[in-house]
Amino acid sequence: MGKGRVGVYLCTCRGEIAKHIDLDRLAAGLSEDPAVAFVRVDQELCGPAGQDVLRASHGEGRSDRVVAGACTPNIQGLIMRAALEGAGLNKYLYEQVNIRELCAWVHDDREAATDKALRLMRAAIARALMLEALDDIELKVVPESLVIGGGVAGMQAALEIATRGFLAHIVERTGALGGRAYRLSVTFPTHNCGICCMQYCRECVLTPKIEDVMQNPKIKVHLNTRIEKIDGGFGDRLVTLEGPGGREELRVGTIVVATGSDVFDARRIPEYGFGVFRDVVTTMDLERMLEQEREIGGRFVRPSDGRTMPRTVNFIQCVGSRDRVKGNLHCSLVCCTYAIGQAREIKKLHPEVEVYIHYIDLRGPYRGFEEHCEQAKAEGVVFVRGRVAEVSEKKGRVRIRFEDTDLGKQIDMATDLVVLAVGQEPAAESERIAKLLHLQLDEDRFIKDLNPNFPSEYRRGVFVAGCAEGPKGIRYSIEDAKSAAAAAADLMAAGKIHKTRAIAVVDETRCRGCGRCEEACEYHAARVVEKDGRLVSVRDEARCEGCGVCAAQCCNRAITIKHHTRPQMEALMRRVLGTKGRGAGGKGQGAQGEVG
């Protein structure tokens, strides 16, 4: 000790900290430490004035590293660190102790809180003395983007990226762009077609046009193509495609995952008889029926006889959604909207048909949903609260049995057409892609939604849009695609990214190449290679995230995480534990001062 000169700043947080911690005593205690160059107390270090204080004070050059006792380092701490960086401090030489959330706000006992703060501060100073200045890693971002999935979200993302001047590759598994939306006859609540033909329609303004995509010189469409492998790291990934033309490789800087969702298979709820009774159809089937009627002049008929028009139609909501036993726990969000839309469509075409919608709760996270719903009621669609228990068949007509939960009455009614409003569930392909890209899946197996407050670097150049991230309607998928594309384009426009140096490094003299780190690393950043005739582990700087799992795995202590080195940790621990005085006959063991 003694080499470094630590500048210590304490924040009163406009009284929030000062109320619970005796900052004078804290400052006095810390000043005793010979490594401390000065202790300065300010009212609000994260405010503009406080930042000025930090900059000016550090500019004086009395200290070469800084410890601040303030609030959480993960939020305001970043502001303070940036201010000090402005005054020439290397950001890796900054340490912040959270004496607000971890002391002031959680301990009523002022004495104890002050003691604890003092100890934590001392420990941080000990650690600060061990810190070393580091530079960030700079990675180049390849100015091309991969969009996985050619549905509404994928097409929109590609268009946005292309508009910003970068080449976008759409990789689509099937033979056509458009995804599920292309199979919809009408979209709701605006009552227009799924994919663009009527220029005046509001939804169409939002809906990307397949032709636009096909004609855009900045978009390359790979149909009937599968992603085989994704290699490389942040900013520069090597993607292997398997398409009709054989194997192909792309180098891309960013990736937008828009793999979408699957439609729930109604066969999994056997009591609804889908696949058994011909007059039980899904909403996707109904789309086709309506489309045929409207576009090629077919007639709206019962599938069982192909002749008669259904007199009654019953929609069953939440098929596969909100069903933790046979389906999925989540709400699919779009089914209420589209089922009501289809019901209205039937009413519009054939006002004499009785239409019932059986629901548990009506959920429409759309602007205009309530009006849509009211309109349906006014048009004569009957809403029945209560989930249909089972569908049976008697004398050639399907019957449904349910409790009308408003009436508290069981009803067994004959009907001509049962429409199952099937929900969305995670696509198998999404899971595969997520695995390739080390993306996390949520409990519902959709790709996990990252906290939008996290800087976009945390996404490592991979953005998720549309239903791959959870059930969504067309409009929200498009919004999603736009923001994902914007973030991807920003990264590519910058051309390079700075990545923290706080990552793993291997001491090759200690490493014996056992490969335990390689097994543990989720990012494939650790690899055992042969070097000078022996096996050693090496790190891919672009991929390493600095979690330290490999270091914990290593039996030989060959792995160090920069900025979290073992000596740094130990220095901190020694002080935080207060080993000094321990074992000296037990004096003070358990006394306030010792523990505080």
Binding site: E271, D323, R324, R387, F402, T405, G408
Partner: protein, 222 residues
Amino acid sequence: MTPGGAPEAQKKRSTENGSSDAKSAEGGPLIVEDSVFTGAEHDPDFVKQIIRYGGKDVQTCLQCGNCTGVCPVSLKTPYKTRNLIKLCQYGYKRIFFTIPWICAGCHRCHEHCPADINPAEVFVAIRHIEVREKGVPRFIRDSTALILRHGFGAIPSDDIKRYREKEGMPPLPNTLPGYRKVLSELEALFRKTRFTELIGLETGEGAAGERKARERGGEASK
């Protein structure tokens, strides 16, 4: 109303379609009793108790009505499974204690429940609570007495015994001399689990209990 007294209550309250129409079979009352819950019926621990006795968390019920839709009892009585689960959510324990034990235990409700609640098991849990807090229905005590006495819930008639002999079927276990040991085992186990204490059947009173049971058992086995 005790569970034992259920048949009478049932007779009055159930109508053909389970609806409690203003006009009952007897041309009954148009005006019903004040049915406002005052909150005094509410027991906030009810849900926890249900879980303790092996039921599931009823708070996750979606009130979709699937259970009622398939419930054979709901179809014929004013008691609707979904409403009963709602009562559980509210914690109206005391109201439950007035409801006869009429769940058929067919578990169709569970088969169809999207929230995996299993109302049948919830009612089993509620019966556990009721037995402990309010007392045990008579038929439980009677059949337990029978089982303690014979190992089984009924006693075969002489006709049946003759038929068995004629057909060369092996004798029923509880007619064999060694069965005494089995009964003593059963009694030991019931005492160990304090079942006889729980249902208020003192094993010492076995004989008296059995007499009572015989009267009913004779009727039941007919």
